[in-house]
């Protein structure tokens, strides 16, 4: 995760062995904070990559961990202390900027103003901390107060009062609601289909009397639906090879004539 990325600080110690040892001391400082657990180096990396919000990092906890680590060593390690101070100061500055973001940017403030703003914030926090201490003391002093805790009992619902109403107006409204609605006409949906067989027989009879006839003339007096069914009958006869159909041009009269037998045979042979 941190491969190829090192925290960019260098130890200015003369002895190379010592410098490596000191650098490791600071980088590998093990931290156990609320928001983070692991080496200091990793914490810095995560913060710089903005994967860990600095606002959640307890800087005081880091300082304590370092001081404890120092105490374990017999001699005061000035180089390590110096580096640590630089790193923690940078962290603090970053955190301070983060805390002030949105209200006042430290970049825009004079150093004096920025210090004043920070001091104001610290003062506010001290007040809240004082209030929290007061609450803790209060809690301790109230520890011997026992009382019943429970959900609020159900209260009876208050009577709902309605505005004055005119019964006649209500009756009129209801009457309008109960009146039978006018019957909807479905006449336009009514379709009566005569049987196709009726036209099959009719056309066969006509062709029995004469060799050809005009379709439009034959169905001229029929309704639109009957004309459609008659046309279906015409197609049916054509499919059966009983008739031949001719039409000079689109929308021109359709001429119907008897199919000649040998033509029917040839048509069947072609289609086969």
């Amino acid at each position: 995760m941190t491969a190829g990325r090192r925290w960019p600080f260098h130890v200015a110690a003369s002895d190379p062995e010592t410098s490596v040892l000191l650098a490791m001391t600071v980088r590998e400082l093990e931290l156990d904070l609320d928001a983070f657990e692991g080496p200091f180096d990793l914490l810095l990396t995560l913060v710089l990559r903005e994967e860990l919000p600095l606002v959640e990092v307890d800087v005081a906890g880091i300082v304590l961990a370092f001081v404890e680590r120092l105490a374990e060593r017999e001699e005061l390690d000035l180089d390590a202390c110096g580096e640590f101070l630089v790193l923690v100061a940078a962290l603090l500055e970053l955190k301070a900027r983060g805390l002030l973001a949105g209200e006042a940017d430290l970049e825009d403030l004079e150093p004096g103003e920025a210090a004043e703003e920070l001091a104001r914030r610290l003062e506010e926090y001290r007040r809240i901390k004082g209030a929290a201490e007061w609450l803790a003391e209060r809690l301790a002093s109230e520890r011997d107060r026992f009382f019943r805790l429970g959900p609020a009992p159900l209260a009876p619902r208050g009577e709902r009062r309605l505005a004055e109403q005119d019964p006649a107006a209500l009756a009129a409204l209801l009457q309008a609601l109960v009146a039978e609605p006018p019957e909807v006409s479905l006449a336009h949906l009514e379709l009566r289909f005569p049987p196709v067989s009726r036209f099959l027989e009719q056309f066969r009879a006509v062709l029995g009397r004469r060799a050809r006839f005009d379709f439009d003339h034959e169905v001229g007096g029929l309704t639109r639906v009957e004309q459609a069914v008659a046309f279906l009958a015409l197609l049916e006869l054509r499919r059966a090879g009983e008739i031949r159909l001719e039409q000079a041009a689109p929308f021109a009269p359709i001429r119907v004539s008897r199919e000649v037998v040998d033509e029917e045979v040839s048509w069947n042979a072609r289609s086969a």
């Binding site: 914030r121 001290r126 007040r127 209030a131 201490e133 007061w134 609450l135 109230e142 107060r145 805790l149």
Partner: protein, 198 residues
Amino acid sequence: MERPLRLIQANPLDSLARTIEALLVVASQPLSVGALVEACGDEAERIETALGLLGERYREGRSGIVLEQVAGGWAFRASRDAAEACGRLFERPVERNLSQAALETLAVVAYLGPCSRPDIARWRGVAVDSVVAGLVERGLIAEAGRGDLGAVRYRVTPLFERVFGLESLAALPRLDDFGGDADELRGRLESLAERRPA
């Protein structure tokens, strides 16, 4: 020694006091004078006088039940003398193990609420999401609408006032009174520096 039911004898407010007593026994949370006025169908002034009589009857050292004015109303609680016995039988889950972070968050909400989580985080300098969720679960704070930017805002609940034994939020000390002396802080820092070995 006074007779236990002396209150009920001659006072013209006896009947009203008995009714209030009954209501307070049934209630599981403090009853305001307004609620008592509505329930008893009597005048506020008479209710308060009757509460005075009850307060005299149910006070520390005289009864195992104590009438107290808390969280904007009146409620019965156990006398402090009985706390040890109560503690053996009953748990206090609301205030158990309240952390420093929780107390600081409570302080911010109590003094500056209603306020949002970002507001609280700004005051405390650390993220407060889990702390706020814990306090909501305990019932010490509750949602109170949304702020201009749409963030949920929180306020302390009547349970907070009851747990901390506060008549109302006005009973909290002034926040300014907690302001530490900056010179004192500086002095402590300097004395610390002097103690460090050179």
